[in-house]
């Protein structure tokens, strides 16, 4: 009963040098109902790196993200966050080490956008880094272009604006590990690019960023490493130009694709193989 009202003393996270392991899952098995969503999944998340998780619907990308967030205890395998087993941290301790953007942003009461973003600072209350609060909130709102929406109620925003405000909250948390579940799903072209540029900036600043993406073009352009989630595990893991092969992607998505380098940047482009009689001819989309 007394434990209900008690708060533990927290230890501030230590910085990790670029390339160092921030979080990792090994041999992870998660069962939902009777189906093993993940079975033997293995992924490493390193500081200073954007890791994109891609894969078909229902492959277990979000589940893997939940495992890495410490939300979901796997029935087998190990999950480590910040050098400790995920289950060994308390919720307040984990909140200093990783921030999570859920797929959908909900809010039960009509808080204005700025207060929602400020909620991201809650874990730091009472620590030395609480002094950064104002700056972190302002920076996160500017980075996601929601500064002008600061006073609007969150519920009155459009889907895309909500997604960006939710991302601002996650950025304001300023943790060394960012786990973003489809941050671009509701966004227009410009804001998709914006969000992934923000991911790159955070990685350049030394954080580890894991982002679930459906757009393979975005993954190829912005990720240092891509993990293809398929069949309960990570089917391929490496730099995009190594991983994105027509054979692998075709098999994983059960949809023949063509992969070719962008003529200017050389970044791999992934296009579904289309039948000219049904779709418009791909040759029409000429690049020169």
């Amino acid at each position: 009963m007394i434990g209900v009202f008690r708060r533990r003393v927290r230890e501030l996270p230590a910085a990790v040098e670029p390339g160092g392991l921030v979080a990792g899952a090994d041999g992870v098995r998660v069962v939902r109902g009777r189906r093993a969503v993940l079975d033997g999944a293995r992924i490493a998340v390193r500081a200073g790196e954007v890791l994109a998780l891609v894969g078909p619907n229902g492959a277990g990308k979000s589940t893997l993200l939940s495992v890495l967030a410490g939300d979901l205890a796997p029935s087998a395998g190990t999950v480590r966050i910040g050098g400790r087993s995920a289950g060994a941290w308390s919720a307040p301790e984990l909140a200093l080490r990783r921030a999570v953007l859920p797929q959908t942003a909900e809010l039960s009461f009509p808080f204005p956008v700025e207060e929602v973003v400020r909620m991201g600072r809650a874990p730091w209350a009472g620590t030395a880094r609480a002094a950064e609060d104002e700056e972190a909130v302002a920076e996160a709102m500017a980075a996601t272009e929601v500064t002008a929406l600061a006073a609007r109620p969150f519920a009155a925003l459009s889907g895309g604006e909500r997604a960006r405000a939710a991302l601002a909250r996650v950025l304001a948390q300023r943790t060394g590990l960012l786990l973003l579940d489809e941050p671009t799903a509701a966004l227009d072209l410009r804001h998709q690019e914006l969000v992934l540029r923000v991911c790159r900036e955070r990685a350049a600043a030394g954080d580890a960023v894991v982002v679930v993406l459906h757009d393979l073009g975005l993954a190829a352009a912005y990720a240092d490493r891509v993990g293809v989630v398929h069949g309960g595990g990570v089917a391929a893991d490496g730099p995009p130009d190594g991983v994105f092969g027509a054979e692998l992607l075709g098999r994983v998505y059960r949809q023949p694709v063509e992969v070719f380098p962008h003529p200017r940047t050389g970044v791999p482009l992934v296009v579904p193989h289309r039948n000219p009689q049904i779709a418009k001819s791909p040759q029409n989309a000429s690049f020169d």
């Binding site: 859920p102 809010l107 039960s108 207060e115 874990p123 302002a138 500017a142 002008a148 227009d188």
Partner: protein, 367 residues
């Protein structure tokens, strides 16, 4: 996305990083609202102490209170002194305690359920507490002295909160429809239990129970005040500590956990606090509904949903509303006395109806 373009017509031009301004006007409004509520409460309490079959002028009330607290003033004549200190003041204090408990419990419940329609009366927690209290009356339990009814009410309330919470949640959310329907079921069951107790009760007990169900403060005495004081004060003192975490809970359970809230622990603690506050209120005043619904709602409209103001504000507002309500109950049909619970329900039900309509419109209907 259209709203975005409206907000920023320049389109491609990157806006300068403007630092977020601290919500200065809100702080002013907090002070204003808190001051206003406090002043209203004080004024209503003094008024309520003076008005009645035996009128005591405001100046005399003040003088007597000052005299007894040793701050000057003067004593009144024996009758006035007796009316003021044995009849009026216990009642005023009780109204303040009960109102504060109900308002605060309402704000907490709405936060825990993430649902603005949650209220101890609506979802059946008051009825649950009433079953405990009526049980204590009928069974003639007295092993805890004046505390017996309070303790039984607490047990009944606690059990009901747990049941309602467990039944109305699915997938980490509480849908409005599920919550209301659960409330109906719980109220029906509690009503049946109370009916059963009434069946076994003797005449004296029946009149005591009837009075209970209507809700009233007419039997206020200092021992009654003392019987609920610890419960109410403990609940009211602890509640504001959870304000910040309740704000985070508005994001949903998982995001709240991501921000360091130990959600399960928070919920258990808050359910205990709600049961404590509701029991305190129900044990002395019977079922007084809608105060916990209306007060937090009005304050949320005036000040926004932040719980750091909402929780203490709802306690203050609840106290003011109930003091006013009790004054009205005593004086509107004088020399007869209206039941307080009936009065709050008369005003509260239409508000609840309006709220339901509004929520429904916002959600696009309930299938």
């Amino acid at each position: 996305m259209t709203a975005l373009q409206e907000a920023r017509p320049s389109g491609a031009v990157e806006p300068p990083a403007r630092p977020a301004e601290p919500p200065a006007p809100r702080r002013g409004r907090t002070a204003l609202l808190t001051g206003g509520l406090l002043a209203a409460l004080l004024l209503l309490a003094l008024l309520s102490a003076g008005v009645g079959a035996y009128g005591i002028p405001l100046g005399d009330v003040l003088a007597s209170v000052l005299h007894r607290t040793g701050l000057g003033g003067h004593a009144l004549d024996r009758t006035a002194e007796s009316v003021l200190w044995n009849i009026r003041l216990p009642r005023v204090v009780l109204a303040v305690l009960v109102g504060a408990s109900l308002g605060c419990a309402g704000a907490l419940m709405q936060g825990v359920f993430g649902n603005p329609l949650a209220e101890p009366g609506v979802i059946g927690i008051s009825s649950g507490a009433a079953v405990g209290a009526v049980g204590a009356i009928v069974l003639g339990a007295g092993f805890l002295g004046t505390w017996t009814v309070t303790v039984f009410a607490f047990a009944g309330g606690l059990l009901t909160v747990v049941v309602v919470y467990a039944m109305s949640r699915s997938g980490g959310r509480t849908e409005v429809v599920t919550l209301i329907l659960t409330g109906i079921a719980v109220n029906a069951f509690a009503g049946a239990l109370i009916g059963l107790f009434v069946f076994f009760a003797d005449n004296a007990q029946i009149s005591q129970i009837t009075f209970w169900q209507l809700g009233s403060l007419a039997q206020a005495t200092w021992p009654k005040v003392l019987a609920v004081l610890p419960c109410a004060l403990l609940g009211l003192a602890v509640a504001p500590l959870y304000a910040r975490r309740l704000d985070l809970l508005a994001l949903g359970e998982r995001p709240a956990r991501h921000l360091g809230v130990e959600v399960e622990r928070l919920r258990v603690a808050l359910v205990l606090v709600v049961a404590l506050l509701t029991a305190a209120a129900v044990a002395v005043s019977g079922i007084v509904t809608f105060v916990g619904l209306v007060v937090p709602h009005v304050l949320r409209m005036a000040h926004g949903p932040g719980h750091r103001f909402l929780i203490p504000g709802s306690a203050l507002g609840g106290a003011a509303v109930l003091t006013a309500g009790d004054l009205a109950a005593r004086t509107l049909a004088a020399p007869a006395e209206l039941p307080l619970g009936v009065l709050t329900a008369l005003i509260g039900s239409p508000f609840f109806f309006w709220l339901l309509r509004r929520t429904r419109r916002k959600q696009g209907g309930w299938a």
